[in-house]
Symmetry: C2
């Protein structure tokens, strides 16, 4: 009995200590004021942490709409002098996959951005009904800071709050209208599978390399160069449109004619709406099991041939500001994926470096 | 009722088809014949898929013994002309971790080895009570092949069988006594956290780069340069001993004197038993959050200073064939880990490259 009483008292004490600790924190919800947009990496305002407007539900296939709820490429930016930043949030789906850890599927990444450099901030985490991250900042040199907080790559965020000490400064930063974003339409690879954390998707690495905003329209298994998506892209004022859908167009359900038709139609549609905006067509990066699977090797190579031919046709037609990134420039090596298709952080790093030269050249 | 009957018939049919498919396979258990050893990556025969002899249970700490059950660095080698290789196996612990996917914690990796090259083979997998991998080989050029099958990095394998077509050739390959192994004593990083698959642990990458056998004595959180482990190492005839334990010796529980003492004692003990065998001392690779955490930066730097000083003392003493690998040569970059400590595949690739030059120089 005595032991039970002590235990109960101890638990009560823990409970109060936790409440106390929570009390010292100021919790901020970036969606609290609907008139102000603090969410980055989106083509349209007022989307919570989603990637397509709610009205898209009637315009795109169900699978695309579901995937558009995932927060891939969605970020929060804020400035704070806090010595510790906490985030608590809730996601709607499974927290990990067999080939992608919870830190990538459902985790966060925090970077400090000063004028020239990015500094990664380690977070300790606990995955549960509410996921919690704590980011300590214990470096003397670093005081007031601009932060980029990357949201989960493969999950929907239904609730999120950031907690800092009551005495710490904290300001969310709104997206700037000055710099037009790079808009990427792609597959699971563009969405971020299988990065170990959100900051390691190739789009996120590239974003830090070029220091320009990016919008991730990667839809796992569903980057099919479809008309509604191209129309959504064309509605965003962009510095560059990237079309990286070939990995989802290798299936036999898509004939060679159909693939060529979709590529050409996509470029035409984008150029019709935004003639000045450059377009980058990207080849299939290859399968890392191509040495033991002739079928898969032939499948991606044939798509890359179609893509190259379509590019030549479009150039011959007189389309301007149309660029092309070849498989070999993407530089994915044999050990760069977890499953033959989806890059690990190693493959993501290779992708980002492969993209960098041409994207920088286009944007400069 | 009619529907139910059709369903029942359909299920029955599926069941027979599966039995039929299984019947066409020959299932092979590499442990079936206790007189023949087909398991690679171990210092002693007859260990099943473990890394220390059973008698170690009374000699090492409980945590080390438990971790020694994990199959990190343990491999099977075989030759076969099968067009499809299946593996079914059972593990004893949790199949994934929040920062390391099931494919790394509990998965397999298959590589083909010809005289000069390694070719990675993609496997499709299903994780359940019994884990199953299917590795298709659909390349015309590839016929009879030598395979390396890497077992799970962070789990114990309690049962394993390989299935090939009845008409396919299949032979397990025994470890050769000709080439002495490199023996690595280390921490979670050496054990393989957080590679996305077993072939991406740095020891595995390095093994393929140097084409020499390696023995992985990495013990997550428990690579503490302890006497029993050093004695086990010294009992293995080796081409090189690697001491990579500093990441577990940064805790305050280990005074500076204690760390220095353990390093020097380890080198003395190895040299006493195997004076001719080179030893490579390795620095802490650093924490990738060092820019925002002065404490962690100071902690690893102080250990590296101790290590360097100990190395100088040992050299001054006249110890021969003692080598040293510095943090900067390991080349871990800011984005090379998943959590500030444990390398992703990107960091693992950096580690392996960092090790390569010096290990090659020592062994050649």
């Amino acid at each position: 009995m005595k032991l039970k009483m002590y235990l109960a008292l101890a638990l009560l004490f823990c409970h109060f200590s936790m409440l106390q600790a929570q009390d010292d924190l100021r919790w901020l919800n970036p969606l609290q004021n609907p008139d102000e947009n603090f969410v980055h990496g989106q083509g349209w305002p007022g989307l919570d942490y989603h990637r397509l407007p709610d009205e898209a539900e009637t315009k795109v296939r169900k699978a695309v709409w579901n995937l558009s709820r995932h927060a891939a490429g969605v970020k929060l930016k804020f400035n704070s002098d806090a010595e510790e930043i906490k985030v608590r949030y809730v996601v709607s789906s499974r927290q990990s996959m067999p080939h992608m850890p919870a830190t990538g599927v459902s985790g966060l990444d925090l970077y400090i951005h000063d004028q020239y450099d990015w500094i990664w901030v380690r977070g300790s985490y606990s995955f549960g009904d509410t996921i919690q991250y704590t980011f300590p900042l214990k470096a003397d040199k670093i005081t007031a800071k601009d932060f980029d907080l990357y949201l989960p790559l493969y999950n929907e965020v239904t609730f999120l709050e950031i907690g800092v000490d009551k005495n710490a400064s904290f300001n969310f930063i709104s997206p700037s209208n000055e710099e037009l974003p790079v808009v990427v339409y792609g597959t699971s690879i563009a969405q971020g599978a299988c990065a170990s954390r959100p900051g390691m998707a190739w789009t996120a690495i590239l974003e830090r390399m070029i220091n320009k905003p990016m919008i991730n329209l990667g839809f796992s298994g569903n980057g099919l160069l479809e008309t509604p998506l191209i129309e959504y892209m064309a509605s965003v004022n962009s510095s560059l449109y990237v079309l990286d859908c070939l990995p989802n167009l290798v299936r036999n359900t898509f004939t060679e004619e159909e693939v060529t038709k979709r590529i050409i139609a996509a470029v035409h549609a984008l150029k019709a709406k935004k003639p000045e905006t450059p377009i980058l067509m990207v080849e299939h990066a290859g399968y890392t099991d191509e040495w033991v699977n002739d079928e898969r090797k032939t499948a991606y190579q044939s798509r890359n041939n179609l893509s190259k031919n379509a590019y030549r046709l479009l150039i011959a037609e007189g389309i301007e500001e149309l660029y092309y990134l070849e498989k070999d420039e993407l530089g994915l090596t044999m050990d760069g994926t977890v499953d033959g298709t989806h890059p690990s952080d190693l493959g993501m790093d290779q992708h980002a470096k492969g993209y960098y030269s041409i994207v920088k050249e286009i944007l400069d």
